[in-house]
């Protein structure tokens, strides 16, 4: 039996939501076609595995609409958001050049960290939330990512590769 990623309660095969805490356990109506990229898409029914070798030195974020690439390198913690009127205090990655404002990205939206057991993301209580492969995540809680996962910051769609 699988366990819910939020509350660890076991759930029955075929469950769409965790009955204990209401977390969505499946991808919802997710029908976007992705560019052919290696790496599997994780669903929260199967938590991704830890690094098999060493943690990656850089992470790439592919903005799917404009096909632009953002490289995260030289640190193990990156805070993401959008600058406002030129102010980008506390931000490592400014998403403003990617229509972040129109797409509902918060000033402080999320944090990506590289840890021993994998790459993690935490939503920084953003107004419009963060989704992993179509699943909205609980704010202030860390989720492990797989290379190839598709993230939404508000409406801004990004694929993470490492």
């Amino acid at each position: 039996m699988e366990s819910c990623p939020t509350c660890r309660q076991k759930y029955t095969l075929g469950a769409l939501f965790c009955l204990e805490c209401g977390t969505q356990l499946v991808k919802a109506g997710y029908d976007d076609t992705l560019p052919a990229i290696t790496g599997t898409q994780s669903s929260y029914a199967e938590p991704p595995l830890a690094f098999e070798k060493s943690p990656p030195e850089s992470i790439s974020l592919l903005v799917l609409e404009s096909k632009q690439e953002i490289i995260l390198t030289g640190s193990s913690t990156y805070s993401l958001g959008r600058s406002s009127e030129g102010q980008a205090e506390g931000l490592d990655i400014d998403l403003a050049p990617f229509s972040a404002y129109e797409k509902g990205v918060s000033r402080k939206h999320a944090q990506i960290t590289i840890q021993e057991d994998g790459v993690h993301i935490t939503d920084a209580n953003s107004s419009n939330g963060t989704q992993i492969n179509g699943i909205k995540i609980v704010p202030e809680r860390s989720y492990r990512l797989n290379s190839g996962d598709v993230l939404y910051f508000g409406q801004l769609k990004v694929q993470i590769l490492f």
């Binding site: 039996m1 509350c7 029955t12 095969l13 075929g14 469950a15 769409l16 939501f17 965790c18 009955l19 204990e20 805490c21 209401g22 969505q24 499946v26 991808k27 919802a28 109506g29 997710y30 029908d31 939330g129 909205k136 609980v138």
Partner: protein
């Protein structure tokens, strides 16, 4: 089975064709195609095909056997379409228990306005206990009078009021004297207690006098209080109402009424239960309820089902026209199909493992029964077998978003039910935890107001070791409201 052609389409008939229609269709086809009169190539084959179809459909027992094998798509008719959305495409033969979700839509596309409207046989059962004094009573009087003024020649409207006993204010009659009825309603004076059984029984007797499957037979119970000691008698009466074809709807005003009891009472009969927080909103609820009753395409829709070994129905919930949990019984009253709209129900089946051979597994066999008052023969039934292919466990991909949204709603509703149960039996930690999850869930869906109500109840639970009556109702009915929904939603 071939979806395009079946014996009905071969004869150009709807699935619910009457025996007379079948005979007529065959005669017409025979005249055109009989080998003696038609020498065109292929006509003989066509005629043999028509004859084959007629032989089966004209024999009641052969027809019902044939019907039970037809797919739901084949049994659709232009007035009523049945469609299903499943969460899985196939199931595994052995292994762990599996859940199967089914979203069932019964849709009437035409509406009833274009047809002859069916008569309504309706009884208003009004609580006149002393607490109803003021705005609630005034609104109810106005509503009752409006109802009587709007009655059409074939309608039967009756009004019963009750406190410690019941009084038939306006008896059911085809020869209603509107001015006399209005005067009697105007004279109503609130006072006394709330004995719901008294009122319900009197209302039941009035409704019964003009009972017909060609009518919409409804009792609308309106109360603001709790009844003591007569709940069992009320349930007994509700069962009787079901067997005679009477629907009980309930409207609860304010915070003191027993929502669990009234909800059960309504659900048993296929009716709905509404929560009116402020008496000034009562008029709106009452008029929308009454408008709904006369516009229903089908009444008393029930699902009769027989689960296969190892399969059980774990939950059933109506998702449209209103959201309400349904009674988990071998015959489930689903409600009514609104004209020009649809009745949507979500089922959760738990399958413990497949024993049968073959490629297809029937989770449950059964049928839907209903009354379509506008038809000369109003009794109507549609076979509904819940089947899935056997061949490894596969979820539908992508999952239909309407189904996911419906299950999301069911989940929050069930969490709310569990929190109430835990709170009532002193498991305060569990109740608190669940409420916290509910609040988080509502927040993430943008329903801040209800999330705040839930947070307030967490505090109340801490302080008073119980939930407040107001909070319990607001959370329960708040998780049922249809607003704030995803666009594709029921």
């Amino acid at each position: 089975m071939d979806k395009e052609e079946n014996f009905y389409t071969r004869l150009g008939l709807p699935f619910n064709a009457t025996p007379e229609e079948i005979r007529r269709a065959f005669r017409e086809a025979a005249l055109r195609l009989h080998p003696d009169t038609n020498v065109e190539v292929g006509a003989t084959e066509l005629f043999l095909g028509v004859k084959e179809a007629y032989n089966v459909l004209s024999d009641a027992s052969l027809r019902s056997e044939y019907d039970s094998k037809l797919s739901p798509e084949a049994t659709s008719d232009p007035e009523l379409t049945t469609s299903t959305l499943y969460s899985v495409t196939s199931l595994q033969r052995i292994g762990n228990p599996q859940l199967v979700y089914l979203l069932l839509d019964l849709e009437n596309k035409i509406g009833v306005e274009s047809k002859r409207p069916h008569p309504i046989n309706l009884c208003l059962v009004i609580d006149t206990s002393s607490s109803m004094q003021g705005q609630a009573m005034d609104t109810l009087k106005a509503g009752a009078i409006e109802l009587i003024r709007q009655a059409r020649p074939h309608d039967t409207i009756s009004v019963v009021c009750f406190n410690d006993w019941a009084q038939v204010l306006v008896p059911a009659s085809r020869h209603l004297d509107p001015s006399q009825a209005e005067t009697r309603i105007q004279m109503l004076q609130p006072g006394g207690g709330t004995e719901i059984f008294q009122g319900l029984e009197a209302g039941f007797n009035e409704t019964r006098r003009y009972l017909s499957p060609n009518n919409a037979n409804h009792i609308i119970l309106i109360t603001d209080g709790r009844t003591y000691g007569d709940e069992a008698a009320c349930y007994y009466l509700a069962n009787q109402a079901v067997s005679e074809g009477i629907v009980i709807d309930a409207i609860g005003i304010g915070n003191k009424w027993n929502d669990v009891f009234l909800d059960n009472l309504a659900v048993m009969t296929g009716g709905s239960c509404m929560y009116v927080i402020h008496p000034q909103d009562l008029h709106h609820f009452l008029s929308s309820k009454l408008a709904g009753v006369s516009k229903n395409y089908a009444e008393r829709v029930a699902y009769h089902f027989n689960p296969s070994q190892g399969v059980s129905l774990s939950y059933a919930m109506r998702m449209h026209p209103d959201i309400a949990p349904l009674e988990n019984q071998p015959v489930i009253q689903l409600g009514s199909i609104p004209g020009g709209s649809r009745l949507t129900v979500l089922f959760e089946f738990l399958n413990q493992g497949i024993i049968s051979e073959g490629d297809v597994f029937t989770l449950a066999s059964g049928k839907l029964s209903m009354d379509i008052p506008s038809k000369i023969i109003p009794k109507h039934s549609i076979p509904l077998n819940i089947t899935r292919a056997i061949g490894g466990y596969h979820m539908m991909d992508p999952l239909p978003s309407r189904l996911v949204e419906a299950v999301a709603r069911m989940t929050v509703y069930r969490m709310q039910e569990r929190a109430r149960k835990d709170a009532a039996s002193g498991r305060l930690d569990a109740a608190q935890r669940t409420l916290q999850y509910i609040a988080m869930n509502l927040m993430s869906k943008g329903n801040r107001e209800l999330a705040q109500t839930v947070m307030k109840e967490i505090a109340t639970l801490e302080e008073k070791q119980d939930l407040s009556e107001e909070g319990k109702k607001q959370i329960k009915f708040g998780t049922r409201v249809l607003t704030n929904l995803h666009s594709g939603l029921p």
